[in-house]
C-alpha cells in the first residue's frame, strides 16, 4: 500500500463558526490524481485553503507528510495585472522555494524558466508585460510557475475556468505529466466529463464528503443526485454540531460549529 501524502482527520473548516467543510475523513495517497467535484459553495476552495494553511480548521486536523513541498494555484489569484512585470518575473517567482529572498537567479535558472514556458506553449513570451496576456495565456504562465516550483503536492483550484479547449488540453497534458512523475495532485473541477476522462480518483463534496474513491463509482448518478440536493445556504439557527452523533467526536477538540 502506498503511503499517504495527506490525511484529513474529522476535519471541519468554515467561516464564523459555520461549517463549509464538515467532518471530512480520509487520505490522499502519494502520487494519486484526484478531482474535487461539487456544486458552488460545497466547500471545494475552502478545503484547498485549509490544506495550504490559509484557513485554520475549526476542529479536526490535516496531516501533511513532513517535508512535502506544496504548490497552490488559487481560483482567484491576487495577481496585480497592472504591475510592471514581465512574464519572466511572474514565472520566476516559482523559484522562490529554491532561491528565496537573496539567492541569485543563475543562467541555469533562466534556461529552466524558458523550458517551463516552452512546456506550456509560451515560448518567447519571457519579455512580454503581464498586462498584455489573455486569460488563457495567463493561466499557461501560472502553470509554468507551478512547474518551476517542483512541488510534491500540487493543488489547482478550478484551473480550467474560462479557458478554451486547446489550452485545457495542453494543461491537462501537463497534469498527466506531473502524475507520471509521481507527484500528488488535487484539482477542483466542474466539468464531469473531463473528470471522468482524466482523473482516476474523485472526491464528491457537498459540505461533507458524499463520495470519495474511484471516479466511476464516486460520480455514480445516485451520488450526484445526493450531492445536488444539498442546501448551500447557512442558517443562523442551524443546530450546533452535536457530540453524540459523530463517530469520531471524541477525537476533536470541542469547538462548537453550526451544522449549516
Amino acid at each position: 500500500m502506498a503511503e499517504n501524502c495527506l490525511t484529513f482527520e474529522n476535519l471541519t473548516l468554515g467561516y464564523n463558526s459555520h461549517a463549509a467543510v464538515h467532518h471530512l475523513n480520509g487520505a490522499v495517497r502519494r502520487g494519486s490524481l484526484t478531482a474535487v467535484v461539487g456544486a458552488n459553495g460545497s466547500g471545494k476552495s475552502t478545503l484547498m485553503k485549509g490544506i495550504v494553511g490559509a484557513l485554520k480548521p475549526i476542529s479536526g486536523k490535516i496531516d501533511i507528510k513532513p517535508g512535502t513541498r506544496i504548490a497552490y494555484l488559487p481560483q482567484q489569484s491576487e495577481i496585480d495585472r497592472s504591475f510592471p512585470a514581465r512574464v519572466f518575473d511572474l514565472v520566476s517567482l516559482g523559484l522562490w522555494p529554491k532561491r528565496g529572498l537573496l539567492g541569485r537567479i543563475t543562467a541555469g535558472d533562466r534556461a529552466e524558466i524558458s523550458k517551463a514556458l516552452m512546456s506550456v506553449g509560451l515560448s518567447g513570451f519571457e519579455n512580454r508585460p503581464i498586462d498584455t496576456l489573455s486569460g488563457g495565456q495567463m493561466q499557461r504562465a501560472l502553470f509554468a510557475r507551478v512547474l518551476l516550483q517542483d512541488a510534491d503536492l500540487i493543488l489547482l483550484d478550478e484551473p480550467f475556468n474560462a479557458i478554451d479547449a486547446k489550452t485545457v488540453g495542453d494543461l491537462l497534458d501537463l497534469v498527466q505529466r506531473w502524475h507520471g512523475e509521481g507527484r500528488t495532485i488535487i484539482v477542483v473541477a466542474h466539468d464531469l466529463d473531463l473528470v471522468r476522462e482524466n482523473f482516476p480518483e474523485c472526491l464528491l463534496l457537498a459540505r461533507s464528503a458524499v463520495a470519495w474513491g474511484p471516479t466511476r463509482t464516486a460520480l455514480h448518478p445516485e451520488r450526484l443526485l445526493a450531492a445536488r440536493r444539498f442546501d448551500e445556504a447557512w442558517h443562523e439557527d442551524a443546530p450546533w454540531c452535536g457530540d453524540s452523533q459523530e463517530p469520531h467526536a471524541h477525537n476533536h477538540d470541542h469547538h462548537p460549529h453550526h451544522h449549516a
Binding site: I79, D80, P84, A85, D89, L93, W96, L101, L102, R145
Partner: protein, 288 residues
C-alpha cells in the same frame, strides 16, 4: 551660464548643503515612492507624514528646533501610525486605507493640540514646511545615514517587495516573508519622510517621494528602470527648485516640489505611455 547655474552653489555654503541634502533625499526617497505607487499606497506617504507631526511637535516643544530629538520623536510617531495601521489591515478585515486614515487623523489632531498648548502658528509652520536652506551638518549626516539604510534595505528586500506587490497570495503560499517585508517597507517609508521633514517639512517631504515616481510611471515599464528614472527626476527637481528659489527669492521647499510637479505634468502628456502618445497619435500596427 556660470553665473546662473554654478555660482549660487559655488559661492554659498548653505546652497551647497541644501543641494547635497536634497540630492541624497532624492536618491533615497524616490525608489521608496515607486514601490508606494505600485502598491497603490501613494497616499500612504501623505498620511504617515501627517502622523509624524505629534512626535516632532513634542520634541520641538521640549528641545526647540533640534534635529536629533525631532527626528526621534517623528520616527516614533510615524512608526506607531504606519505599523499600527499596517497591523490592523493585515490582521483584521479592515483595509489599509481606512486603518491608515484613522491612525493619522488621531495623530494629526494630537500634534496640533500639542503645538497649540505652548507654541504659536510660526512654530507650526516651521514643523510643517521645513527649511532646506538651514540644513546643518548633523541634519546632513542624518539624511546620509537614512539614505544608506534605505538603499541597502531595498537591495536586500527587492525580490520580496516585487513578489509582495505582484502576487501576495503566492508569496504567502511559499514563504512567511511577506509580512516582515511589508513592515520593513513601511519602516523605510517613515524613515525617509522623517529624513525629509527637516529639509522640506512634514507635508512637502512626501512630494519629493511621490511626484518623481508618479512621473516615471509614464516613461518606462520596469521597476528597476522606473526607480532609476524617478531618482533622476528627483535630482532635476532639486537643482531646478533650488536655482529658482535662489534667483527669484522664493521659498526653496515648495520650489523643489513644484519643479517635480512640472516634470510630472509634462510626463502625463509627453511620456512614452502618456496622454499624447496613447490618445492622439494614430500608430501603425504590426500584424502580430
Amino acid at each position: 551660464m556660470y553665473e546662473f547655474f554654478i555660482a549660487p552653489f559655488a559661492e554659498f555654503g548653505f546652497m551647497q548643503r541644501a543641494l547635497f541634502g536634497s540630492l541624497l533625499l532624492s536618491l533615497s526617497a524616490c525608489p521608496v515612492g515607486v514601490f508606494l505607487m505600485l502598491r497603490r499606497m501613494s497616499l500612504t506617504g501623505d498620511a504617515v507624514a501627517h502622523g509624524i507631526l505629534p512626535g516632532a511637535a513634542v520634541a520641538y516643544l521640549m528641545f526647540g528646533l533640534e534635529i536629533v530629538p525631532m527626528t526621534i520623536g517623528g520616527l516614533i510617531a510615524g512608526l506607531v501610525v504606519a505599523l499600527g495601521a499596517g497591523a490592523v489591515a493585515r490582521f483584521t478585515l479592515q483595509k489599509e486605507d481606512a486603518s491608515l486614515a484613522a491612525f493619522y487623523l488621531i495623530s494629526l489632531a494630537l500634534g496640533v493640540l500639542v503645538i497649540s498648548i505652548r507654541g504659536s502658528s510660526v512654530d507650526l509652520m516651521q514643523v510643517l514646511f521645513g527649511t532646506v536652506l538651514a540644513l546643518d551638518s548633523s541634519a546632513l549626516i542624518l539624511i546620509a545615514s537614512i539614505c544608506v539604510i534605505t538603499l541597502v534595505s531595498l537591495t536586500i528586500f527587492w525580490r520580496g517587495l516585487v513578489a509582495e506587490c505582484l502576487d501576495p497570495l503566492f508569496l504567502r503560499s511559499v514563504s512567511r516573508i511577506g509580512t516582515p517585508v511589508h513592515f520593513a517597507f513601511l519602516t523605510l517609508t517613515v524613515l525617509n519622510l522623517v529624513a525629509g521633514f527637516q529639509a522640506l517639512g512634514t507635508l512637502l517631504s512626501v512630494g519629493l517621494m511621490m511626484l518623481p515616481a508618479a512621473g516615471a510611471r509614464f516613461w518606462v515599464n520596469r521597476v528597476s528602470a522606473m526607480s532609476a528614472l524617478a531618482v533622476l527626476f528627483g535630482f532635476a527637481s532639486c537643482v531646478t527648485g533650488l536655482l529658482v528659489s535662489y534667483h527669484a527669492a522664493l521659498p526653496s521647499g515648495p520650489s523643489i516640489i513644484l519643479a517635480a510637479g512640472v516634470i510630472y505634468i509634462a510626463s502625463v502628456f509627453c511620456g512614452t505611455r502618456g496622454l499624447i502618445r496613447t490618445h492622439f497619435i494614430t500608430h501603425r500596427h504590426r500584424t502580430a
